[in-house]
């Protein structure tokens, strides 16, 4: 078993609990933006894809890495964009819209 595994397991379990506690407080009103935002955060795999696309390696791994960069980065850009668009629409009754 690699040494890093146990440390990563600690991180995973703690992050899972933090996630559970934080996300369970999100109002059902915002469940769609929640999913869009977590998609955008999950797109952080792009950092791994960048390293694979750009490091010294085979042409195959560079090509797979580049496709992964495009796929993950589209989620990052699109996810933040649509979350913000949705959240801007949520208004209270006090404020009048034009």
């Amino acid at each position: 078993m690699p040494a890093g595994f146990i440390t990563n397991l600690y991180v995973f379990v703690l992050a899972g609990f933090v996630g559970f506690e934080v996300i369970r407080r999100v109002s059902p009103l915002l469940h769609t933006p929640l999913m869009a935002l977590t998609n955008a955060l999950d797109a952080i795999v792009v950092v791994a894809a960048i390293v694979i696309a750009g490091r010294h390696g085979t042409a195959l791994s560079a090509a797979l890495g580049a496709i992964a960069v495009a796929a993950a980065f589209s989620n990052m850009v699109g996810g933040f964009l649509i979350t913000d668009r949705m959240l801007r629409m949520f208004k209270l009754s006090g404020r009048k819209k034009q």
Binding site: V47, G78, L92
Partner: protein, 464 residues
């Protein structure tokens, strides 16, 4: 390997990103602070990406920059879709997330071979299998939501056995690879079979079950990213994946409860469709109908109204007319609220977004529990495009397929109005006894047109 300074720098940047990601989700808890959450997430992601671009291991940038550019263009395109298309956009983004994670896992395998331990191989195999099946599964879900593929469940005899055998084959190949990681020729088959399993997993699922499926795929994609973090030993992936995975998991549980499905039923993807009750011919029952004029008179005279919208409202694109109705009634001093069932719409929270887009203030949108506690003091419950989520059979008829499913108890309101095209049953094929109750008025017609007619009657009356 990276020089130590560069490694520390990367680690600090990723730790900052992790903190900002958690804050991002924390701020999302209320609409008032939610947009800070987006900003915080963006800053965290930007810090992580920019730091990675300075990684000294990188030797070529051309393809990275091209890929970032392509990703930006696709992202903007998918970020600007219409709000009714958000469920299929979400499914597409699950597909992209799964694709990225699976490709990275595949690339790692070929990079590490032949120096790969059994343990590493286990992690990679698991990651690639879940990533691949989530990729095709999400594509099928997106196709169904976009209505490129049929929305109805596609089933055949012995389906579960076929699907499980395919999954079994992928697992067997994975086991062979774990025991003999250098048998490179097995690897593409494992990927291919996992891709096929993803198709088989989602094809049998109908449109109305999509909120659960999307949540479940969301959770799969999150856990794939976390597994990738284990494979590559990058903790920011472990954390982001755990957050995304637990979010999808929580939403899946909420959707399950709202549909009264057991959790194991969902975890193994054995959604099946609800059994259509073998109901014999029903005796002729009478319904009371009303015109737009009568409906407007009753609504205008009410003190409190709860509107219960369903996916049918979105299909009819009636949400803007519904806003006009809200405005007209509010002007007359009627207290109008919207009671939203958790599975209304095609993904969790979808109905709230559609109503918010139509400029209905979010403090008017109430959840199922609140709606049910206010229902007995409500003069009129107006149902637009919803069916099964209001069916009293869920509470009273033990034999009914939807028995036990939590519903919005509109039958407790003083008057019930249902806008519906015809008396045809909902997706579960179950007759709705609500329509035959003495206090129920059926308003037959297209949701958008009918609501428009009511608004016209209301504003006509206001002029005098």
């Amino acid at each position: 390997m990276m020089p130590p300074t560069a490694q520390y720098l990367t680690d600090f940047a990723y730790i900052a990103a992790i903190a900002l990601f958690i804050l991002s989700l924390k701020w999302l808890s209320s609409p008032a602070t939610a947009r800070h959450g987006v900003l915080s997430g963006e800053i965290g992601a930007a810090i992580a990406v920019v730091t990675t671009l300075f990684n000294p291991e990188l030797v070529q940038f051309k393809w990275i920059l091209i890929a970032l550019l392509v990703g930006t263009m696709i992202g903007i395109r998918l970020g600007l879709v219409h709000m009714t298309a958000v469920p299929q956009r979400t499914a597409m983004s699950h597909a992209f997330g799964a694709l990225a994670a699976a490709l990275i896992g595949i690339s790692e395998y070929y990079m590490r071979i032949p120096h790969i331990s059994k343990f590493e191989m286990t992690e990679i195999a698991l990651e690639v299998i879940i990533g691949s099946l989530s990729f095709t599964g999400s594509l099928i879900a997106a196709g169904k939501l976009q209505e490129i593929l049929p929305q109805r469940p596609i089933t055949y005899k012995g389906q579960n056995y076929v699907s499980l055998s395919v999954l079994g084959a992928a697992v067997v190949i994975a086991l062979i690879l774990i025991l003999h990681p250098t048998r490179v020729y097995f690897f593409p088959f494992m990927v291919l079979i996992s891709l096929i399993f993803g198709v088989l997993l989602v094809t049998p699922i109908g449109g109305a079950d999509m909120p659960t499926v999307i949540s479940l795929l969301n959770s799969y994609v999150g856990f794939t990213a976390a597994l990738l973090g284990f494979v590559l030993n990058i903790k920011v992936l472990v954390v982001a994946g755990a957050l995304d995975g637990s979010s999808g998991f929580i939403l899946s549980v909420i959707m399950c409860k709202a549909m009264n499905r057991s959790f194991t039923n969902v975890m193994f993807g054995a959604f099946g469709k609800l059994q259509v009750s073998a109901a014999a011919e029903k005796e002729e029952r009478t319904v009371r109908t009303a015109s737009a004029e009568e409906a407007a008179a009753i609504l205008g005279a009410a003190n409190t109204v709860i509107v219960v919208p369903g996916y049918g409202m979105a299909v009819a694109q009636a949400q803007h007319k519904v806003r006009e109705l809200y405005d007209a009634l509010s002007k007359k001093g009627v207290d109008v609220k919207f009671g939203i069932h958790p599975v209304a719409g095609r993904m969790p929270g979808h109905m709230n977004v559609l109503l918010a887009e139509a400029d209905i203030p979010y403090d008017r949108l109430i959840d199922m529990e609140t709606a049910n506690s206010e229902m007995p003091q409500t003069d009129v419950a107006l149902i637009i495009g919803a069916n099964d989520v209001t069916n009293p059979a869920a509470k009273t008829e033990e034999g009914s397929p939807i028995y036990g499913m939590p519903i919005i108890e509109v039958d407790n309101a003083r008057t019930v109005m249902v806008i519906k095209r015809s008396l045809s049953p909902g997706f579960a094929g179950i007759d709705n006894g609500l329509y035959y109750m003495g206090k129920t008025l059926m308003l037959f017609g297209d949701a958008k047109a009918f609501v428009g007619d009511i608004v016209r009657e209301l504003s006509g009356g206001a002029h005098v």
